[in-house]
């Protein structure tokens, strides 16, 4: 039995960042990860590999469809899937090695095995050792939800894991679930030449997002060639040799779709590997998530939980921030989570980035508000880039001008949102962004113009 100040169960973005922060604060830190590499879902089978394939497939599509309008002639463009996959794997490898380096640099022990939390804050790591921990951080992440009649085999019925390593370009990929993962990975395979059909149970894709953004995204994605079937339920499936027959139903009308691959991306649920919640008496919420307070404390003394395991938005940067908060609280600092300024991004092209509330949420709260919008088609830089689709939309309090929501759909939205996130942190107003100088010509001028739009004084429209 070894002693440790902090034992973190899970080496994903929440867990490994918590480990680094704890070590920085002088705590003797152990991070338990049973996979061969650190980084969890995000680095191994999530954010990083999907972005690698998104970028590669965007280049391919650009070369095929858009290079000519820039006067770049490319003959015989073809997708080299094995090279794309190799590059993706190399990028993942660089990232996981990078985390290992950070562990060494910060003198964090990586206990390579399956961790089990025992009462009294003892963590048994299979094949390694037992640790008596002063504090435990549960960072066990989440797993994809299965359809009962269409279980994952990662060969033809895929979760995010299988969808990142399909060995051929599918003829017809059906994506069940029009959320972030489905649209991102669906976009990858569509660009590479697959017919892609997105089946979404809700009346729209990206349910819950700002309605104007959804409308614009739906329009753009359809134009790109994505087949989108909303309000449609998958009611059954049967499997043949290399073929899956998916029974769908919309407004009582049934139909059968044939596909060679199906990606099921209908959501994720907390993974509590090695956490016997019953025996420990760990309190869970309605969706099986660990209940925590703003300091990330569970109901058990000295036990914290972070990331997807505690529910909320399933975002790596949320998990990271929660990990930092947990580590700082353990070190005796005053830290707490505040989700008001938590951005989220959909890495389709164009990208969709959001912070704060959607317009329908503000409306239903009864708060008087103003909206400012600016389309990228009116932005000089966007025109030079031939990236004119989308817009920036601000929602601000009608009386105080406080920023309440910002929604960007457009090229590089993921980076453009960041100045707005900073403004949110400081309870900024649309005027703060509107009167701040933005370099010309940049896409960010659209952010400024939309902010000025709230005040009724956009300059370039």
């Amino acid at each position: 039995m070894k002693n440790a100040d902090v034992v973190i169960i899970g080496g994903g973005p929440g867990g490994y960042v918590a480990a680094i922060r704890a070590a920085q604060l002088g705590l003797n830190t152990v991070c338990v990860e049973m996979d061969k590499t650190l980084g969890g879902t995000c680095v191994n089978v999530g954010c990083i590999p999907s972005k690698a394939l998104l970028t590669s497939s965007e280049h391919y599509e650009w070369a095929r469809l858009h290079a000519a309008e820039h006067g770049v002639k490319i003959d015989g463009v073809s997708a080299d899937l094995p090279t794309m996959m190799k590059r993706k794997d190399a990028v993942v490898g660089q990232n996981t090695k990078g985390i290992e380096y950070l562990f060494k640099k910060n003198k964090i022990e990586w206990a390579k095995g399956r961790g089990t939390l025992k009462p009294g804050n003892v963590v048994d790591v299979e094949g390694v050792d037992s640790y008596q921990a002063k504090n435990v951080i549960i960072a066990t992440g989440s797993v994809p939800i299965e359809l009962p009649f269409l279980k994952f085999d990662e060969d033809r019925v895929l979760s995010n894991i299988g969808a990142l390593k399909i060995p051929e370009i599918p003829k017809h990929l059906i994506v069940v679930g029009g959320g972030v993962i489905g649209l991102e990975l669906g976009s990858v395979w569509r660009r590479l030449g697959a017919k892609v059909t997105v089946v979404e149970l809700f009346p729209t894709i990206l349910p819950g997002n700002d309605e104007e953004v959804i409308k614009e995204a739906d329009r753009i994605f359809r134009k790109q060639g994505l087949e989108i079937r909303t309000g449609t339920k998958v009611v059954g499936a049967s499997r043949g040799d290399g073929i899956i027959k998916l029974e769908i139903e919309k407004d009582g009308a049934k139909e059968t779709l044939d596909a060679d691959y199906v990606l099921v991306s209908i959501g994720r649920k907390p993974a509590l590997t090695g956490i016997d919640t019953g025996a420990l008496g760990l309190a869970l919420g309605q969706r099986g998530e660990i209940v925590v307070d703003a300091e990330m404390r569970t109901n058990l003394p000295g036990v914290f939980a972070i990331g997807d395991a505690v529910g909320g938005k399933l975002l790596a940067h949320k998990a990271e921030e929660e990990g930092v908060v947990a580590a700082e609280v353990i070190a005796g600092q005053h830290a707490h989570m505040d989700y008001k300024s938590m951005p989220s991004v959909v890495y389709t092209w164009p990208e969709i980035a959001t912070v704060g509330l959607a317009e329908h949420e503000v409306k239903s709260s009864g708060r008087a508000y103003k909206v400012g919008k600016f389309p990228f088609s009116a932005n000089g830089r966007a025109r030079t880039m031939a990236e004119t689709s989308g817009f920036v939309k601000f929602i601000a309090d009608a009386k105080t001008d406080e920023l309440v929501g910002c929604h960007i759909i457009g090229a590089n939205a993921s980076d453009l949102i960041q100045e707005v996130v900073l403004a949110f942190e400081y309870r900024g107003s649309s005027e703060d962004i509107g009167i701040t100088v933005h370099s010309h010509p940049t896409l960010s001028e659209s952010v400024k113009e939309a902010a000025l739009g709230v005040l009724g004084r956009s300059l370039h429209i």
Partner: protein, 397 residues
């Protein structure tokens, strides 16, 4: 550059409110000059200049809450010589220009610096438009940054206005001291089993004694003889007889104090304070008189030290100075007894079967019934009454 820091404020006091800056940024100060006044819940602390110099920066505003050791500003001690050497105000740009450059406006003629408060650009603009200072607005952004919504909300805060335009209500923040007084009183009410018993004292003999001795005492000792020190002595003697009234509860133990540090409630401008006379049980009437006068003056001047304010074992409060006839004092927690004195009033009383007019005073003892039994409380008060009605008895006990 020397940091101007919050000095130690005394036992268990970790924060204070900046009540007043006496020196401004850029002002020259001599060593020992008071730079800023801090107010704690008990005392006002003056922060002196550690050396001569010029105030280089001021990092907290009046009304800010500061912690012990926090930096309040900076003092440039090297600037002192320059100030001393230059009889006339030195120009702001002191470095001589090497070439006959066109006159550059000195830095000091630049528009007024924004106040040293973290605020967003739109907040500063909104504040300027509304004619308010961002320094007056409480910031709610991360790290206390004043945002535009903060300014707008501040500017639009509800103000009820009467028909002739005058304010009918004003809202002001409680001072740290007022807040602590409120907390302490409420804690006393919540934490104790509070009860009051009354009696009355015929002041005839004490008054006669005072009248007889007054002039002589004032002449020989410079002390104005009031009846308060007599009550202090009488209370000390009664406490000796009923030590539980001088005790304190600590968890499940009772701590008996074999000394009396007699708290004297004093009304000062900033609120009620209760300095105490150390070892009052071992001091004579004259010493007690002198010390009461001294702490009362310190309290009015806001100059009480932490030592004056801590360690009291029992308290006397005199509502009579304002004309009160009867009151139920609140315990000075964690003390378990407080003696309330009132106005002496000529009243008809029955003496030996005859009605006589006597100078009478109601006295009250509030006590913590958790450890003081009613009998002890009543007998304590009777003892005080006996000693006061026959001061010579104080000699004999």
């Amino acid at each position: 550059m020397i940091s101007i820091k919050v000095p130690p404020l005394g036992e268990s006091i970790v924060e204070a409110t900046v009540s007043r800056w006496l020196k401004k940024k850029g002002e020259a100060v001599a060593s020992g000059d008071t730079l800023v006044e801090l107010e704690t819940d008990k005392i006002t602390v003056e922060v002196p200049a550690p050396r001569a110099g010029v105030i280089a920066s001021v990092s907290v505003a009046e009304g800010d809450v500061v912690k012990v050791d926090q930096v309040l500003g900076e003092l440039d001690e090297t600037a002192a010589a320059a100030i001393a050497a230059a009889p006339a105000p030195a120009p702001a740009a002191s470095a001589p220009a090497p070439s006959p450059a066109p006159a550059v406006p000195p830095a000091s003629s630049a528009p007024a610096q924004p106040p040293d408060v973290k605020s967003s650009p739109a907040a500063r603009r909104a504040a300027a438009d509304a004619g308010i200072s961002v320094a007056d607005v409480t910031g709610t952004g991360r790290g206390g940054v004043v945002s535009k919504p903060d300014v707008v909300e501040y500017a639009q805060r509800p103000q009820s206005v009467s028909r002739d335009g005058a304010q009918r209500e004003t809202r002001e923040k409680m001072s740290t001291r007022r807040k602590r007084i409120a907390e302490n009183l409420l804690q006393s009410q919540h934490a104790t089993a509070h009860l009051t018993t009354f009696n009355e004292v015929d002041m005839t003999l004490v008054n006669a004694l005072r009248e007889r001795m007054k002039e002589k005492v004032e002449k020989e000792h410079g002390v104005k003889l009031t009846f308060m020190p007599f009550f202090v002595k009488a209370a000390c003697m009664a406490l000796e007889k009923f030590p539980v009234v001088n005790a304190q509860i600590d968890g499940d133990s009772i701590i008996y104090k074999h000394y009396v540090n007699m708290g004297i409630a004093v009304a000062s401008e900033a609120g009620l304070v209760v300095p105490n006379i150390k070892d009052a049980h071992a001091k004579g009437i004259l010493d007690v008189s002198r010390e009461i006068a001294a702490v009362a003056k310190k309290a009015r001047d806001g100059k009480l030290s932490m030592d004056d304010l801590t360690g009291g074992t029992f308290t006397i409060t005199n509502g009579g100075v304002f004309g009160s006839l009867v009151s139920t004092p609140i315990l000075n927690y964690p003390q378990v007894g407080i003696l309330g004195l009132h106005k002496t009033q000529d009243r008809p009383v029955a003496i030996d079967g005859k009605v006589e007019i006597r100078p009478m005073m109601y006295i009250a003892l509030s006590y913590d019934h958790r450890i003081v039994d009613g009998q002890q409380a009543v007998l304590f008060l009777v003892r005080v009454k006996e000693l006061m009605e026959d001061p010579a008895a104080m000699l004999i006990s």
